[in-house]
Amino acid sequence: MLVEEFGLTTDQVQPDSKLEELGVDSLATVEFMFMLEDRFHLKMTGEPVPIKTVGDIAHEVDVMVAQQGINLGDVS
């Protein structure tokens, strides 16, 4: 989704890639979280979570998916 929505390359988007270095600042990160919520029908907690890397985002989504019992196979 980072590739699709923000025009980044797959080479750039690696688990340990730092968002700041990709040009994804805090505003863009929040924007991306909204996109994730819409795509995966998630509801982020709103609690501050330290998100620095692409992997941090993936982890946060995994946690939310597990907590909210979402089957990603149902996501179009």
């Binding site: 923000f6 025009g7 980044l8 040009g23 994804v24 505003l27 863009a28 929040v30 924007e31 909204f34």
Partner: protein
Amino acid sequence: MRATEQIMPPMRVVVTGVGALTPMGEGADALVTGLETGRSAVRFLDVPWSGRLNSALAAPVLTPVESRFTKLRRLTLDRVAQLALLAGQEAIAQSGLELSGAAGLTCGLFWGTGMGGATTLEQAYQESLLDASARPRPTTIVAFMANGSTGQLGIEHQIRGPSFTYSSACSSSAVAIGEAFLAVRHGRVKTALAGGSEALLTLGVMKAWESLHTLAKPDDQDPSTSCRPFARDRSGFVLGEGAAAIVLESEASARERGATILAELVGYGNTTDAGHITQPDAGGQARAIQEALTMAGVRPDQVNAINAHGTGTLVGDVVETRAIKAVFGENASRIPISATKALHGHLMGASGAVELVVCLGALRRGIVPPTAHCFHPDPECDLDYVIEGARAVPNLDVMMSNSFGFGGNNAVLVARRYR
């Protein structure tokens, strides 16, 4: 000691860069030469919601603006800021200013806009008001705020001196340039990026303008000629969008850098009618014109041409004609007056900057643009409006640009060929 704490005589203020992205095309040259040919940028908008308007007549920017920015960058950029950035890039590039170092600390930013990020705001309202569960994008506020373009220009060019955002309807960017001129003239800043941008061709905004009954009635034969300033059959203006920017600096700064000096800005007048929120007042306009001339040290007989506010409204054009006569007296009838909104549309907050760029082009080329579509002159508007087409004016030396805004603000700029 800060520059503002020093007492110094006024400095000469010169223009070293210009940029424009307008319905006439990309770049200041496209604007200036396009106007000379009399080509109109007015057309019917090709948008899905055009059927919801009485008339979708407008002057849009056809340059693919969005594609100049990455998706990531566009998150915080309304169309109005995209236009601003492109016009700003052209002006800064021409000036040769490099602001990332210490020079950025003494550069000011003066930007005008009538509505700011209208597209973003309208989208947020649509989503929020029509769907109770919808939520605006997190970047909505920063994209629509009035100073969005100003802030983005600062980031883009590392301009770190004072910054100001002006919103006085149709005179916004003329005020921005005028205030930048004063700031350079009196040593508050060494250099300045000034101008304005507007992008309000949205359904909600256009419908609101329709309700005000100031928009031109589309001509049956040729809609592109619908805006007819100073003509007997004029019926109003056509909304447009775009941006223009100029780089101002003290003559000393430009010489020190070895920059090419394009022209000199010599006068600025700014007055308030204090009469009516929309009806213009010849007295208020005349005071602004006189103030600009006085500051410029220019006599009425030394003004070689005027770019009129000339929107093509019934009242506005007559009032401006009276204001010009009041100041210029018997000289008024021998000054070529161009109303270029007939061709590039009314760019609202960006108008003043766009039309100053037109004046600078005219001074450089010795050619004033026409007032197009004045097929039937109005006896009440009896000055020389250059209705026959672009005109070469020998010894074109001093030009004035008028901008008058709703709210009763009048801003007048005077530019002179540099020598």
